[in-house]
């Protein structure tokens, strides 16, 4: 049976819009984005991997990283914390609304294998540290046309999505890369440097 909607109605209709006859009870969630959320339009680009095998202070490393993100006005979310010794997996997603259209995102995946707590003496003081194989994966990206505070995404209809794609590919591409993507990349470099300096890796420092 042919549908009742005309061609223009289909163009401007938003997907998954509830019909006016049946009203569903709204489901209020915490607003924390799921780690399996769809990829943002700007894309999350892989940045770099830090691998360290040895003894390190995980507690302090955690605090240093979170404080760095929060001091730069990032909203810190921890979608996954899985601790099953000898394995510890953490997934972090830090978001910052730069403009009403653009959002900065830094994704951190921390993986520790062979987790073992050891007591060491540092500067004459006993400290509880962690021994294991740490793998830190950093990713960064920009999201445009992000959802509002009620979780409702904009730029949903077919013509709006085409317009947004045209905007990104031809109109604001260079400005977007220069102002937002590059700036976020250099900021992620600073974050990368902070992590390497804290772990006291030999190849530390960054001229960028």
């Amino acid at each position: 049976m042919p549908s009742d909607e005309t061609f223009f109605q289909k163009l401007f209709s938003k997907p998954n819009e509830p019909s006016s006859e049946v009203r569903e009870i709204p489901d209020y969630t915490s607003g924390v984005p799921d780690v399996h959320d769809e990829m943002p339009v700007g894309g999350i680009a892989p940045f770099g991997i830090i691998k360290y095998r040895g003894v390190f202070d995980l507690n302090k490393l955690y605090k240093v990283m979170v404080r760095w993100l929060k001091s730069r006005r990032f909203e810190f979310h921890e979608p996954l914390y899985r601790f099953k010794p000898p394995e510890l997996i953490l997934n972090w997603r830090a978001e910052r609304k730069k403009t009403p259209f653009v959002k900065d995102i830094i994704v951190v995946n921390l993986d520790i294998r062979g987790y073992e707590e050891v007591e060491t003496i540092v500067g004459g003081v006993k400290k509880r540290m962690v021994k294991g194989r740490l793998t830190l994966n950093l990713n960064f990206g920009n999201e445009t046309g992000y959802a509002d505070i009620f979780g409702q995404k904009r730029w949903n209809s077919v013509i709006e999505r085409h317009l947004k794609s045209f905007l990104h590919r031809f109109v604001i591409k260079r400005d977007f890369e220069l102002l937002h993507l590059d700036a976020l990349m250099y900021e992620t470099w600073k974050f990368h440097k902070v992590i390497k300096d804290y772990l006291r890796m030999e190849c530390h420092g960054n001229l960028y």
Binding site: G48, K51, Y52, R53, G54, V55, H204, G205, N206, L207
Partner: protein, 182 residues
């Protein structure tokens, strides 16, 4: 998918002896910045073992030479059995490292990295014809630029490591250098 061409294949530097890891890393970093490349540190791996540290560093600096050509350098540095040593340099103690270093440099050139000329088979065909025959001189010049950059990085690293080759050995003075020789 951009068209990829391997221009420099496995320029290798092998060294065994005394060097400073931080200085070597900063040397490469400095070089990349001076030449206008954008840094991309794919992997920075450090393992502490009883025999010494194992460090693996993979860098892929890249540079957009034009809106059609992009240069990529692949620098892989491996340091094996690295231990800390303290040496005397002009009466001052300096912290250095001793171990084996392997550096491998590759140079890759990407054309049409934005994928504008591969959306249709005819565009792809036109691009190939242009790259092989019409744009040949320009492509050759871009390749020469990449070879030059990779070669300079190779010479810089080699020069730095050779500088420390005889650091621990005492300098043999020739009779002419003795005070009061002349």
């Amino acid at each position: 998918m951009p068209e990829q061409r391997l221009v420099v294949d496995h320029l290798t530097v092998t060294y065994s002896g005394i060097f400073n890891i931080t200085e070597l890393y900063q040397l490469v970093d400095n070089f990349i910045r001076e030449k206008g490349f954008d840094k991309r540190e794919l992997r920075n791996q450090e393992h502490v073992t009883p025999e010494g540290k194992y460090i693996e560093l993979e860098l892929q600096p890249w540079k957009k030479v034009s809106d059609y050509v992009r240069h990529n350098m692949r620098v892989l540095i491996r340091m094996i059995k690295v231990k800390e040593v303290t040496i005397d340099v002009d009466g001052k103690k300096k912290k250095m490292h001793k171990g084996k270093v392997y550096v491998i440099i590759d140079g890759l050139m990407y054309t049409d990295f934005e994928g504008r000329w591969e959306q249709r088979p005819f565009y792809f065909f036109l691009r190939t014809i242009f790259d092989k025959f019409i744009y040949r001189t320009y492509t050759g010049q871009f390749e020469d630029l990449l070879v030059e950059n990779c070669g300079q990085l190779y010479q810089t690293i080699k020069g730095y490591l050779n500088m420390h080759r005889y650091v621990s050995a005492p300098m043999k003075r020739s009779p002419r250098m003795e005070p009061g020789a002349f």
